[in-house]
């Protein structure tokens, strides 16, 4: 596996774990019937999911730029 590929795989792993954690927090917030449940959903679950998606999108952008930079389009 080349270095960009392993970097991409690591980014995917981080993004996936963050999103899964965010989704688990979302399930807890939906089961928990409490005024703080929305706060948990929005500020913890939502934040984890958004950071995970941002990591994934950033990895796509960086993978695209490194492919363009090495002069060997796939």
């Amino acid at each position: 596996m080349s270095e960009p590929d392993s970097r991409m795989a690591r980014s995917l792993k981080i993004a996936g774990i963050l999103i899964i954690l965010g989704l688990i927090v979302e399930v807890i917030s939906l089961v928990w019937f409490h005024p703080l449940a929305f706060v948990l959903f929005a500020f913890v679950g939502g934040a984890l999911i958004f950071i995970g998606m941002a990591v994934y999108l950033a990895s796509l952008a960086f993978a695209g730029s490194s492919t363009a930079g090495d002069g060997h389009p796939s």
């Binding site: 590929d5 991409m8 795989a9 995917l12 792993k13 993004a15 996936g16 774990i17 999103i19 899964i20 965010g22 989704l23 688990i24 979302e26 399930v27 917030s29 939906l30 019937f33 409490h34 005024p35 703080l36 449940a37 929305f38 706060v39 959903f41 929005a42 679950g45 939502g46 999911i49 958004f50 995970g52 998606m53 994934y56 999108l57």
Partner: protein, 204 residues
Amino acid sequence: MFGPPAMLYILIGLTIALIAAVLLKPSVTSGAGGKILAFIALFLLPSLCVLAGVSSHVERSHETRFCISCHSMVNYGRSLYIDDANYIPAAHFQNHRVPPDAACAACHADYSVYGGLKDKWQGMRRVYMQYVSKPPNPITIPGGFSNRQCLRCHLGARSFEENPTHQAMMDSLRSGEFSCITSGCHDSIHNADQVDHLKMWRPQ
């Protein structure tokens, strides 16, 4: 067959399963199909889960049991069971003039264009007051209780329109110059500080 929450749980489960598949076998993302799968698993489905989660939370924030789950709202919830028809919220709740499962929202929701957003903002402020600062005592509604909340249902209703007292002051009621609940006509409302001393209705 399935309600919206069950559908949301299925969607979340499906998303987690797809992400796990991508994580366990990252090599699938080398092909075009795998890239699309990764995009669906790591972007499209999580976005959908967040949107559905927001919708689900907003929906259940309309429920009566949600409103009274705050400690400072407990007596307001109990006031819905006062056994006296002069108490406006109790009479509306007990006779299903408002949906009992969404009784608070029926009378307190802001029905203007951006009312939903304003309500959620107020709700977040109240959560802050409850857990970080201190809830006001007595609890008040910013700007007071507007006649529009009453007139939304009562305006056009025969018993309301034909009442000679209402007819005589209709313009003042519409403009809000004369308050339905604080001008001495329908002033028995929640009276949350008195509920311990009032007779309660016990549904069979």
